[in-house]
Amino acid sequence: MIWSEAPVSIPLTARIARYQAWLRRTPVDRPLIGLLWEADIPGLPAFLDAVGQERAIAPDEIDPAMFLPYIERWYQRDTEWQSDIIQSWAPAFSIPWVEAIADCPVVGYPGSLWAMPCLRSYAGRPHYHFDPHDPWLCKLLEFTQALVDRSAGRFPVALPQMRGPLDTLSSLRGAEQMSLDLLEQPAEVHAILAELADLWIEIARACLALIPPFHGGYVTRLKMWAPGPATTPQNDISTLISPRMYREFALPFDRRITAAFPYSSFHLHGSSQHQIPALLELPDLTALEVHLEHTVGGPSLSVMLPAARRILAQKPLLLVAPDLETADLCIRELPPAGLCVMVLVNAPELGPEYDAWLAGHHTRR
């Protein structure tokens, strides 16, 4: 079965046409609407039990084969939904690939894998250059190739979650120490961020070299289709710093990364919404992708909806809602041109309300 033969109500060509209109922010009857999920380690607790928690995990302990049945299950479920979204699959979400390649130990704790701080001082620090023989990079490329092989053209393969230079520095130093470094060791911070930005670019290029185009384009892990290689930069740790500091320490490297690829959708959480004006200054940025998190302590919708309007005035927006109710509100309240609304889901076994919600919006066309 190839994607275009799957029993979906919306043909792939129609989806791509909607994405193209979305990219141009041309007037449309409704936004792009669908569900968002990310392929992760299936049975993560069992995996962590098997490899042992609270110790550094080696890349050769991760076998891409164990992920593939899980991805198949998601794929089959996706074919049943009426969705505008083109689902991509990427190497496991929980693995902190960039941090691991930057030498952070990857340690399993209940519920997740963590990149642990390992850089005690900038004095005599290692330099972070792209090494094609790095074992974590090799594992990432093996994983990417396994997904490409499994797809056989049925679904697009995407870059993994790639935390940005500032995020990676926060892992290397610990978030608290990194925050203090910005204030007290700015020259050292700039130097290491430049290296980490270049490393990020080279990792992305190495992965993209393995990923074939999908119906003339690429899909990011957070579901932006674009007619050329596309990445998803991010700096989640930006929630901790001021816009001025973001412009000083992060934006120059965001600029370098977005300039290196034809298309980029910048990922951020609601708690980083104060960085949106700075991000909109990026000349090569394609779109912003924002997670609404008012249900878990993030900024309220009274803050986020105006922010979304400001983004839509300048760039396409992928907006991720935590539930159907919030998604409906966004669809009602925001202009549809350039807007994509996705509901975050965590498992393919969803209740019938999701099918009904998708069908309802798509039959309203």
Binding site: P117, E176, Q177, L180
Partner: protein
């Protein structure tokens, strides 16, 4: 050697007859212990555990509604309420208890010193201190700990929200400093009232306070929330002033900070701190034995019994072995007070708490 002498020796780096013992726990843990042991009151529990310390109220005036006599504090339809700072709080229920967490910060948008000064600041007169002498007399013979919980850092950041306050320390230092100064001034006044009230008991041939106890959490599990330079810029003067206020009255000073505060210890010693609490053993660079080797002649350690891994998950025998190791090494020639490295939490088995407190028998 009575309890006061035992503690005095430990604090002043002289060998006591045994390591002094302190107790701190969440209310639900104390209730479980009392039920387990068949004890009627908290005093009975402290006596059973042979604790050498007694704490004189008020300490955390923010939460002490019984002593509050200031203007009415607003409540809201969502069951949240304002505390004395105007910080809005809501009770969060978790499996093992409840915490009153911040849900709105009154100075979140303050960008000038004038806005800070215009805030409705609490005064020490909003509290009733009249029962302090009676408490001191009631616990005569114990090492008496008291004073307002001068959380200069914590209260300041709750007034703005942590992120905003930290950013202001970097970008609007005059605003951050104005808030810190108002908070420190308030606690200085509260302490004057408490110390004066305790002195009434001492003047009446009763006991006065032995230790002033206050604190701020400057550390996380891994690092400081602010650099030593920033500590010196913003907080050192206020902490030294509060410590000096107690020392002028002959008290020792115990300072609390959770987390990885190794890099601040020299500054705390310089500020006049005699005792560091709680020595969070699992935090980075906070192993009690290593701290003793580095700072043991200059500061006394209170705590260090690990509540993150040891007490919740180890066997009673392993708990006792670790307690003995720490008491022997860190308590050599004084300088150590046995206590958990956080208030005992609901995930710690009663058997392990009892193992901790009977390890030195």
């Amino acid at each position: 050697m009575d309890r006061k002498e035992r503690v005095w020796h430990a604090v002043h780096h002289q060998a006591p007859d045994r390591v002094p013992i302190d107790y701190s726990a969440r209310p639900e843990v104390s209730a479980a212990l009392r039920t387990h042991l068949g004890l009627a009151s908290q005093d009975d529990l402290l006596a059973y555990l042979d604790a050498d310390f007694r704490y004189i109220e008020p300490r955390e005036v923010i939460y002490d509604r019984q002593r509050y006599q200031g203007p009415p504090l607003r409540t809201f339809p969502d069951d949240s309420w304002e505390d004395i700072w105007g910080v809005r709080r809501v009770r969060l229920i978790i499996a093992s208890g409840a915490y009153d967490e911040v849900c709105a910060a009154p100075l979140a948008h303050a960008t000038t010193v004038e806005e800070v000064e215009a805030h409705r600041w609490p005064t020490p007169d909003w509290f009733d201190y009249r029962d302090v002498p009676a408490q001191c007399r009631r616990y005569a013979g114990y090492a008496l700990v008291g004073g307002g919980w001068g959380a200069i850092f914590g209260d300041a950041y709750r007034l703005q929200g942590l992120q905003t306050f930290l950013m202001n320390m970097a970008e609007r230092p005059e605003v951050a400093q104005a808030i810190i100064d108002r908070v420190a001034r308030f606690y200085y006044g509260v302490n004057e009232r408490i110390f004066d009230a305790a002195a009434l008991a001492a003047a009446d041939s009763g006991p006065g306070l032995d230790i002033f106890y206050f604190g701020n959490d400057f550390g996380t599990q891994r690092a400081l929330l602010l650099s030593p330079r920033m500590y010196r810029q913003f907080f050192a003067a206020g902490i030294a002033r509060l410590a000096g206020q107690a020392k002028e009255r002959g008290m020792a000073v115990m300072y609390h900070s959770c987390g990885a505060v190794h890099a601040l210890i020299p500054d705390l010693i310089a500020a006049g701190i005699d005792i560091l609490d709680p020595v969070q053993a699992q935090a980075v660079d906070m192993d009690p034995l290593a701290l003793k080797a580095e700072f043991g002649s200059r500061i006394c350690f209170h705590g260090g019994i690990d509540t993150q891994r040891l007490l919740p998950f180890a066997t009673p025998a392993a708990v006792q072995a670790r307690v003995r190791q720490i008491a022997e090494a860190v308590g050599a020639n004084g300088g150590y007070i046995l206590a958990p490295d956080q208030s005992l939490q609901g995930d710690i088995p009663v058997e392990n708490i009892l193992a901790m407190y009977t390890a030195l028998l």
